[in-house]
Point group: D2
């Protein structure tokens, strides 16, 4: 039997790497997409068995080209994990229309385009998993998150629409709301005063992401939250 193929969009040293590691360990082929070639080389050193592709998700044409390449080299996509997520910090007065648009392109338009690329094969198979990584800002428009929370709100409603439309066709779309700070070298440096228990460990998130892809179709989850046990929410 052919190996399943999992594509991870927005592959960084936190979630992306952990998801890749987990799906490789489960016997999948794994394709990792990130914006900068340098970052991909860093990831490749840590996870040499995955396949790497440079892709700026704010550019629909690039997405189209990369997915064509993936499908030719690796076959049809069984699981798509959309982990790209960024957005300029700041309130409505701070941010520009450009920054506002860019946050939407990374979080919503990129997700829309990636899903479009895997749809035909998943529809043919009558199966597939689409897991999108959200944030607290998906549910709440914080004052200092004018761009990011708007982009995440766009993403959440999109994925809900996708789940409702594709569910009956055997394709499982789910949304993971991450409530807290993910443990990476960068966040640790930034928040060096915080104890271990302050952070979400990417491998722990990966455990729940993998579970979602294995839920039997009589009991699919659309949305769940994850947060550290010590979190004040």
């Amino acid at each position: 039997m052919a190996k399943e193929l999992t594509v991870i969009v927005g592959a960084g040293p936190g979630n992306g790497l952990a998801f890749g590691r987990r799906f490789l360990a489960e016997g999948h082929k794994v394709a990792m997409l990130a914006r900068h070639a340098d970052d991909l080389e860093q990831l490749r050193l840590q996870l040499p068995d995955a396949h790497y592709f440079a892709c700026d998700v704010t550019e629909p044409e690039q997405i189209h080209g990369v997915f064509k390449q993936i499908q030719q080299q690796l076959g049809t996509v069984d699981t798509l994990i959309y982990n790209a997520g960024a957005g300029a910090f700041g309130n409505i007065e701070d941010i520009s229309a450009k920054q506002f648009e860019n946050a939407w392109r990374v979080n919503a338009l990129g997700c829309f385009c990636c899903v479009k690329e895997v749809l035909a094969d998943m529809r043919d198979a009558g199966a597939g998993s689409i897991i999108v990584i959200g944030a607290t800002a998906s549910l709440r428009g914080g004052g200092e998150f004018a761009a990011f929370s708007s982009a995440k709100g766009a993403q959440r409603n999109l994925v809900q629409s996708i789940a409702r439309h594709l569910g009956p066709h055997g394709i499982h779309a789910a949304y993971v709301v991450i409530d807290g700070v993910i443990d990476t070298a960068r966040t640790r440096k930034h928040l060096s005063d915080k104890p271990d228990e302050f952070f979400l460990h990417p491998d722990d998130i990966a455990q729940t992401v993998f579970h979602l892809t294995k839920q039997p179709q009589s009991a699919w989850t659309f949305e769940l939250d994850v947060r550290p046990f010590k979190e004040n929410w």
Copy 2:
């Protein structure tokens, strides 16, 4: 004392006209913005006392130009009502990236840009009302509303972010979730089998929109829903 100025973006024959009528009746100056000059002429026949400006809200530069013109001709804006809202009907398979983007431009980016244009004056005044018209799709990603619900989700989180940031500065942002079909010549024709009580009457919505702008600042509403009493929700 100078008359207050209310700007209604997305002025059509339903809500836009009713809002204009109401704020004129309350003694405001009213500026109405719509995309097509023809539509503006139709509105002018029905509400000659308002001021009319053609503006495509998907174009930030146009928004900037029109608001400059309004501010020069009519003064500072006291109340901004963002009523622009449209989006291609269809599920993720039906709609294109272009349609997906366009829905976001009308509902979210246009709103962002209009708020930016009135911010400086409202901050100077330490007062102002920003009322944005949402829809059920703001809260729920229906399968056949992949573009519209994503755009409305982006809009709602944006307005929530604006409300949180600007509230303490004396500026009241509120979000009106319209759950149902608004009574216009077009919807009546389309849904000619439906009884009167099926529709939301724009003058009735205007009553609540006006109330929001008059709430004392110790008890401001951020969000409310409106629907016809017979609605099955």
Copy 3:
């Protein structure tokens, strides 16, 4: 034409008094219910034109008796405002089953029973308003609000069920989520370090409550929030 009758359950020196004052000013007859006869006498001094009834809303039999009395003395009820709301402060470890039950009796069972008492007349009239006063805890189970937030959750879902069922019969049920501290002598004393702008003024809440009872039936609100403009939410 006979005066309309408004019944305010849970009449205290904050919201209750303000609601009574407002509906009296609008030409209604007003009946005020509170638990303790002493409190009623205090209210009567401030608002002598209302009618006062002692009623412990945790006791369905008392509710039944008092509403019979109201209907005989004052006629059919046009507007019911359910403002009773209390609950022991504390987390699951702090509070007893007795306290947990009592919070539910005040917030949910009492509301259920009061609505039952006015239903027959409202159904006969094909009209009526039922306004229930909720809290942030209606939407969120805070750790230190194990009893209160559970009781408020019970109340909110009940009122939503009532609104869905009774709306098509011409009866408008609405839920007001108060997010903040109401300005009363007691809260001022307790929070003497807080500035004016920290508090919700009961007369300002009354303005929105009254608006809800006047919404035309093509555009009824089920739920809205109110909070002070300076609130950090």
Copy 4:
């Protein structure tokens, strides 16, 4: 190492049996509580390795007695699954105060009391899982679910309060929103025209319930939904 103990409250032939089967298979001791001794005997035939206790969860004293018995016979509770859930069908006009109260006792008070019984041991251990089974009605007050949705709203806010309070103490409380009809002999008979894919299979729900109890504490889920892939939601 001693076996872990899982207690399942509200053990019926659907979820209860499936949860029992799963946790037994994972090497736990399992205690099953149901109201009627007859039902327990039926379950015992199918799952003889579990321990059975008759308990009416509307009676706090019975709950206390049964948990004392469990703790003496089987030791401290590691996982509590609260699956009791019932409520008279009907709108506010149909149901009585008695029915309204009973629904709350089964869904909310019973849950409160069971959690109180396991708290001391879980606090001592600094660990434990509390999984509560909710329903769509937990989130939405349907017109014909006046009692059930109010009771489920009370339950959900309670469990959220518990999760917020106990999380930092190492105890994981989670809420599973079941959106659909569970596959049992009774629902199959009742809905004999529905295809297989209409139903949630209890073993599939059990898979996600078990996953929740195994989440590492850096990434705990509070709430998730489960529904059949064909569900129109």
